[in-house]
């Protein structure tokens, strides 16, 4: 078990390293620099700027000094916003994106598990088809379509909820959370349905029923625990996806989170900001995937047993 955890953690390091390296050289290979859009500056100013941001050094030198800074946790200054560091900007955007992601995950879990479990209780009836067809809608409707549609219906036509912003007006967090969570709710619904269906035919559930337990107890106490395992192992990738996928929703609803910074940075060729956000998000994604592997291994006695045997 511990060996498994150790190996998985070690595997994560080259992944992050590759991400940083590829991003670094990809960004530098781009035509046009961060200062090429700006108004003509004198050669001295240009040179001073380049020296300040180490652009006068060779590519490899830049790479190594960047990596050295990174090891100390310093992501460098932002090219586009003079006087601000990438660290500052990430920590400004992160809480907002994390909050959005958390609410979206909550929406996804509540709707998804409820729909999936309800559908699995009476497979191949209307009780199954209706929630599952709705889940398919969630999968097929991209967030950049769902978001504006929700805005149109609830914000403009019905005038119930604010159409943009974050924390500025009451209720303005509702639509973004639903928009971001919808697709994941759909996947979770399908995962929990198939997980529950598999568990429902197991012997120990027949035993539970034979003991005379009410169906409610059978489902909630015995079936859910095993039936939701696939959902648990999906949570890590889901949260990672929510974080990195939030930039669509942040753009649609004008939320000043990490995702919007990232898109802005990409369009402005803000080298250090792109690198910083990519590094940060990639690390986060890898970490969450790792975490969900661990939780899945810990929750599943069969898997746990396998690891113990391997030793």
């Amino acid at each position: 078990m511990w060996r498994f955890l150790g190996v998985r953690s070690l595997q994560a390091i080259p992944v992050i390293f590759v991400v940083i390296t590829v991003t670094f050289f990809l960004v530098r290979a781009a035509p046009g620099g961060p200062f090429s859009n700006e108004k003509a500056v004198s050669p001295q100013v240009q040179a001073a700027l380049e020296a300040q941001y180490r652009l006068d050094q060779s590519m490899l030198q830049q790479y190594f000094s960047y990596m050295a800074d990174l090891l100390r946790g310093d992501l460098g200054p932002s090219f586009n916003f003079p006087g601000r560091t990438v660290n500052e900007m990430i920590f400004q955007g992160l809480p907002i994106t994390a909050e959005l992601g958390f609410y979206a995950l909550l929406v996804a879990l509540i709707i998804g598990v409820l729909a999936g479990v309800i559908a699995s209780l009476k497979p191949n009836t209307a009780q199954d088809y209706v929630p599952m067809s709705l889940a398919m809608v969630g999968i097929c409707m991209p967030s950049f379509l769902l978001g504006p549609m929700l805005v149109l219906i609830f914000g403009i036509w019905l005038d119930l909820l604010p159409v943009s912003g974050w924390g500025a007006a009451p209720g303005d967090k509702v639509l973004p959370s639903i928009t971001l969570g919808a697709m994941y709710a759909a996947y979770i619904a399908r995962l929990s349905r198939s997980g529950m269906l598999e568990v429902m035919s197991q012997d120990y559930l027949r035993t539970a029923r034979a003991k005379g337990l009410p169906e409610r107890v059978v489902v909630i106490k015995h079936a859910l625990r095993a039936g939701l395992l696939p959902v648990i192992s999906y949570l890590g990738p889901a949260f990672a996806g929510l974080l990195s996928g939030s930039f669509v929703v942040e753009t649609v609803f004008q939320i000043p989170g990490l995702g919007r910074f990232y898109v802005q940075a990409a369009f402005n060729r803000d080298y250090t900001m792109i690198l910083g956000t990519t590094t940060f998000l990639a690390t986060l994604i890898v970490a969450f995937n790792l975490l969900s592997d661990f939780i899945a291994a810990w929750l599943n006695p069969r898997l746990r047993y396998q690891f113990q045997k391997k030793k």
């Binding site: 080259p14 590759v18 950049f144 379509l145 549609m149 198939s194 598999e198 649609v252």
Partner: protein, 301 residues
């Protein structure tokens, strides 16, 4: 003469009455035909593809044909789905946009298909250390935040269509490679592969003639499920302004225009949105149906 002909008839009717061997494909087709949702998907797709293909013959308007005096009007008899702010017929634009969206879907999926199947088949067939290394590479690529990378790629290297295919194809081949590798590993142990090896066939010939035909089922299923993903990705990139560029249009681009003016002209958002969603719907249902038909054992999650 007539005697022998009727004999022949009798023989053939007898042959018809005998239980004929049913191939995997016929069997799968029968199962697919029973699946109403999958058949709806198939028919819908066929109709949509035909409509987009013959768009120039079907609508009286050109897709860039402006009518500034008309402006944006809601759906009417002359313009079934209304017009946009330049007075361009929305139905025409949706059909032409559908050509691009579907084309991107199919071509980028083909890229993923070729790369993924080749890579997976080699890794699974050769096995051992080569396999371990090849799959470790896939694992690493899997962990990359690709959405972010594609945005980066499109921003950095300009917005051309070829790059779009490559970028999307580059993401989607990974799962294909994993699936094919797993299948090939199983097939590699089969006697007929050993027989082919002892007959002296080259590995390339064995993979081509014996291995790939036997993993065709999962490949077809996964291809059908990849197309909607690819179309979604293209729509998303176009929505951000990084994908298809005007004067060409795609559903993603139409949706992004629709969003800008949705307060005044909601139909400009709703109809392209419905086209995209329904097509993705159809593809997903067809893919699910194919999975149930070709591989009854596979789970339905």
């Amino acid at each position: 003469m007539s005697q022998s002909a009727s004999d022949l008839d009798q023989i053939t009717t007898a042959a018809d009455a005998m239980p004929r061997g049913v191939s995997l494909w016929q069997d799968a087709w029968v199962r697919l035909r029973k699946n109403k949702l999958a058949m709806f998907g198939l028919v819908f797709l066929a109709v949509m593809i035909l409509l987009c293909l013959f768009a120039p013959l079907l609508t009286p308007y050109g897709y860039e044909e402006q009518n500034l005096r008309l402006g944006a009007i809601p759906p009417s008899a002359a313009h079934w789905l209304g017009t946009d702010t330049f007075g361009r017929d929305l139905l025409t634009r949706i059909l032409y946009g559908g050509r691009v969206s579907l084309m991107v879907g199919f071509i980028a999926t083909s890229v993923a298909l070729v790369v993924g199947v080749t890579y997976g088949a080699i890794a699974g067939y050769v096995g051992g250390r080569v396999d371990a290394m090849m799959m470790r590479l896939v694992d690493i690529l899997y962990a990359l935040p690709f959405m972010i990378f594609i945005v980066l790629l499109m921003v950095v290297f300009g917005r051309n269509l070829l790059l779009l295919f490559l970028a999307i194809g580059a993401v989607e081949w990974l799962t294909m490679a994993r699936i094919v590798r797993g299948q090939v590993q199983g097939i590699r142990q089969q006697e007929y592969v050993e027989a082919a090896i002892s007959l002296g066939l080259s590995p390339a010939a064995i993979i081509r003639k014996h291995v790939i035909p036997n993993v065709l089922g999962p490949i077809i299923v996964y291809t059908t499920l990849t197309i909607p993903n690819v179309m979604l990705l293209e729509a998303f990139l176009s929505f951000l302004g990084l994908g298809i560029q005007p004067p060409m249009s795609s559903w993603g681009l139409l949706i992004s225009y629709g969003v800008e003016t949705m307060e005044e002209y909601p139909w400009l958002l709703i109809f392209p949105g419905i086209s995209l969603t329904l097509t993705l719907f159809a593809l997903n249902f067809l893919g699910d149906g194919l999975r149930d038909a070709l591989d009854p054992k596979a789970s339905r999650d």
